[in-house]
Symmetry: C3
């Protein structure tokens, strides 16, 4: 640790100022305008056929890679698994999809990327939203307590066909992404929030099986259940194992309401299995779901300060809180054979959480729309379906009103979201913005995360040391940012 | 951040020394003796009729406000909602009712305030303590397993009448406080510990309904239950929502055994509802109670270091741990129709917690008496009542002995507390000391929370910076105070 | 805080460098080679008969203590209860049994200690492993679903006799340790991980009672259950109370999978009691177990960063996760009278956890063998026994296969561990290495835990201050160590 001359340091300090997160440079790091000149080549690192093979193929496809020898270092980075820390460091926001000002991305920011690169796994949320509606309308048409509404089973049929079409389309496109941009899929898989959406395709398929119109099939084959539950089981082994086995993906760090997606699959599976007449399998998944839901519920309610991805305020994602107990109540009713006290306890917990969020509806404004919102609608539909089930057992004017209100709310929400999605897709044409979350750089930009600087003075070395020793404060970043602001004013 | 001359700083430093928390100044910040000259005007900010209207009215009431133009800034502060941080910053102690040495209060410390300002919401604890005794003596008089004690139902009648009188008196006085010192009530409502006591009036009413002597009423009207549960439901929406929706009142920050008061109401309501013959309503509250009790139980047991209000050591407030499972066991027994395994599990958990605290009785000494202690007696009575219920199902010599022991303990505790209260009220005349908790100042005193100082030296600027950047250490204040002490010795 | 001359400080700084944890001194603190000259006297502090009595006795025993007047200060330290912080500060590793490089121990490191001092409480793990095998073979021999295996009850008889012998031997030796080296036992008792192993002797006795061969006794006397449960109950009052009542042993600090040992006793007791025909007692322990298992399960799954003793990665100790739900499922089945949904939920949770660990088997390599590993085998056996119970209810080819696989796995694991133990005992002769965990020094070594130093400069005083104020960073030691390393490179 030699004592370096002060002049050296002050130049360092200037660099910090130039690239840091200081209020005087709110526009983030300086970007080289020359980057704009590079065309599509930057996307190559995300392509499945990269490296030698990729070059040959891209040559075949007519792309002329005349300047592979240029000095842009990022292009030559060997793409390895990103450590989860990088996601936390480089991204912010409740869905962890906004770049921090100090970070750079490795894809061009100023132009639209290829469609497949902009197509996130959360698109499966649409399937969840619509197929759960299909189930709801099936329940409305077939339940005794909602006979008075005279709902035609055709609504269910129509919605189910749309759902099937949607699942096919969304899956096909994502499958293309898997084929052509495997690196992008891999980065979504390692993204601490996005990983939960990898449950969505399988849950959507379970929903399709649950909502199958009676006119199409009366009884599904049990093998279907085993086939659908297998990928969910594997994903759970992976994710719950990560929670428990520590490291950077431990639960006290990644807990976020979107984790409910990884728990609710158990209950949906238990519900489907029990309604198919299976016995042990549904209880197995119900048990796993119960244990992990309990852990997740407590963790999310506690709002540990170490939960880096938990939105500071309310956010539509919180509606996922309602999903698990709603579905659990129905699953338990199917396993047990009646909507007993256990089912009611789960159902009432769901209702309380729903109501607790509903009275805070004012807090749910001003968020940027994203496709992930679709995933947050199925809990509402789930609560409506559970209410139909409940009103079958406790039939009176209150439960009937509640059923109607919740069904209308769920349908209106889905409709509103549909309209919004169409507007974004065809009017604003920004339904699929550049997916920043998958384009973060491998390493930290050299000069970021210095959160204070000095002009001059005799204690430069001291400052350097302090910088080093204060680094453990990383986890308290919020406070530090506040300090930065006050430091800026001194 | 210009480098200011050192002389300037050293004067700053002196101010820090003069007002800081250093051992050499244990008496806290210097107070202007002129303040003593101001009479009652300082209480005006807490009066409901403050501002223009207030001045007119106070003029009518004969108060001459000749010096509203004086330079005392605190008087002119517009009273806004105090952020919860201020409570954590300014107060300490297990009930968060002691001023930190570095803080100032906005009411005169050296004289007794008006009675209503000193009258805390925790006074309702007396109602809880006595009305739960009424229930216990009712159970003793009517249970088959305690027939051998030959308890007269008149004890229940007498205690119930006293309870009614107490509830009327305590409520009336607090109602006067609401009318005349609404600001003080508001500050209690925003106090992170006190807020839980806002459940006490409604729980006391539920206790009255539960303990109503058979001679007065055999059957209560169901409407009563809905009326009593409505405010509890609203308060829960508010408080549980705060836990979940984050911010400064999130559970990992405010968790404290007094939160049990906000959970136990659910079980008391479920017990009353089920004993009235209702079905769905009681299960609804039982479910809410169960979910949130689980969260609270785990959180309190974990003793997260972020729980700022959790007493470091044992404290009478820990007896609230026993309340929820005791009442829950009875509530479930009433819902289910028999004291089944579920009830027994809850009951045995309560017993273990009771016993676990009882063997640590030595740790419960040396605390300053406060009215809040009354609230900590009803769990004992609740455990005794649950034991009477249990002994009805499992009747043998052990359960009978346990019943007698717990009933005697509960009665003795209440009696001892009654005597202590009378002594404090009429002999020591300090039952209602100045309620510091509601009088904390709006902002931090300018010179507090500087936790180190320097005499001289060339690195003043450095120190300033360090002060800034170390501020994130707030949450580790204990350690810092320790450091301060060692710093003082250097 | 007078400003001392810089020269004084720089000499201080040098001392820090010389003794600190810097990479240039990886061999830890310098040790006085003269220490090696002192013979057995150093063990005297751990002997029960220390002090005056001890000297007389040791004189009688022929030891000549001619140099009690020597200047070795450690020998004269009055042995008091070690604060738990010392264990966290001085030790590391998942079993908290490795000395940190900066620490010194008070027993000679370079020679083998007396056998009793090296004999840890975790030796009872062997009893757990073997006696649980006895239960498994009893279940295999007597269950209807495993009739097809034609297991002879003699296997159970043989294993049970071996278990009894083991329990007698292990207990006798540990009893000798209690008599002759009570201080060492006390230090194990205060060790935050080891304390959990104090449950092992009683659980082993419960296992013996559960596995008693039908040929020896058909029915045990109920009094036996009360006698065996009493010490478990007392230990629980102690340990759960420490979790709740705060201080340095609060759960958010000491949580470690070995805590499962302190919870599983409840379920084993409930299982034994219920199989003896008792009713209330088993439910009592089941309730305690359930409440605390829930807390522990959530806490361990969350992996709070404050859990100082939780292994960063997977470790054999994680298999203890499987124990509690396995035994709980059987206990509940015995209490309830049938393997109902409650039992199945517990059983399936155990299965999922087992499977979740089994697929991560690759992570369980490279750990240093220790006797504690034996304790980690009984959960496997427990899962196998629970599977036998389950296959009695759900008899099909899958459950039969599962039974065989789990039984074979458990037996193989125990056999492998037996072979390893024999190799370590008789070939490598290091089955009982020096038990560093009990020999940590009373206070911190003077010069450790200074984690930065300076050469020279005008801001020495500043540095001193910073050192003081940064001390709260203790809990973030890992980060600091990382900083140290980078500091070393500057």
């Amino acid at each position: 640790m030699p004592s370096t001359p002060a002049g050296n340091h002050s130049s360092n300090a200037k660099k910090v100022v130039a690239n840091g997160k200081f209020p005087s440079h709110p526009e983030g790091p300086l970007r080289n305008p020359a980057i704009n000149g590079l065309k599509d080549k930057r996307f190559d690192t995300f392509k499945t056929w990269s490296g030698k093979l990729e070059r040959q193929i891209s040559n075949l496809r007519g792309k002329n890679r005349e300047d592979t020898h240029d000095s842009n270092p990022q292009e030559n980075i060997e793409v390895e698994t990103l450590p989860v820390d990088r996601y936390f460091d480089a991204l912010q926001g409740p869905e962890l999809d906004t770049l921090r000002p100090s970070e750079e991305i490795i894809l061009p920011e100023d132009k639209q990327w290829p469609f497949l690169l902009r197509y996130p796994i959360s698109s499966f949320g649409i399937c969840l939203g619509v197929s759960s509606q299909a189930i709801m309308w099936k329940a409305l048409a077939t339940s005794t307590s909602t006979k008075f509404l005279h709902i035609s089973p055709d609504v269910n049929l129509a919605l189910w066909c749309i759902s099937v079409a949607l699942v096919v389309i969304v899956s096909s496109i994502y499958f293309l992404k898997v084929i052509f941009y495997f690196e992008a899929v891999r980065r979504e898989y390692y993204h601490p929030i996005r990983i939960n959406f990898f449950f969505a395709p399988w849950i959507a398929l379970l929903f399709l099986a649950l909502g199958v119109p009676p006119s199409i099939s009366e009884k599904l084959h049990a093998a279907l259940w085993y086939i659908l539950m297998f990928p969910i089981f594997c994903l759970e082994l992976k994710i719950y194992g990560q929670w428990m086995s520590g490291g950077k993906r431990r639960l006290s760090k990644v807990a976020n309401p979107s984790n409910h997606l990884s728990v609710v699959g158990n209950f949906v599976g238990a519900l489907l299995g029990a309604s198919m007449g299976l016995k042990e399998g549904p209880i197995f998944f119900f048990a796993i779901g119960l244990a992990h839901y309990m852990v997740l519920f407590v963790t999310l309610y506690q709002r540990l300060p170490t939960n880096e991805t938990l939105p500071k305020e309310l956010h539509p994602v919180f509606f996922l809180f309602v999903a698990a107990p709603s579905v659990a109540s129905m699953a338990w009713a199917n396993i047990q054979g009646s909507f007993d006290y256990g089912s009611r306890i789960a159902y009432f917990i769901a209702m309380f959480l729903y109501f607790s969020l509903a009275v805070r509806i004012n807090f749910f404004r001003g968020f940027r729309f994203s496709l992930a919102w679709w995933a947050y609608t199925f809990p509402m539909t789930g609560a409506a379906i559970a209410t139909i089930r409940y009103s079958n057992v406790v039939t009176n004017v209150v439960t009937k009103c509640l059923t109607v209100i919740l069904c209308v709310t769920a349908t209106l929400t889905v409709t509103a979201l549909l309209v919004t999605t169409i507007i974004h897709a065809f009017v604003l044409r920004n339904l699929f913005p550049n997916d920043i979350a998958i384009a973060i750089s491998q390493g930290k930009p050299k000069t970021t995360r210095r959160w204070f600087h000095r002009r001059s003075g005799s204690s430069d070395t001291t400052i350097k040391h302090i910088e080093h020793y204060l680094k453990f404060a990383d986890s308290e970043e919020k406070d530090i940012e506040a300090s930065n602001e006050s430091a800026g004013k001194v």
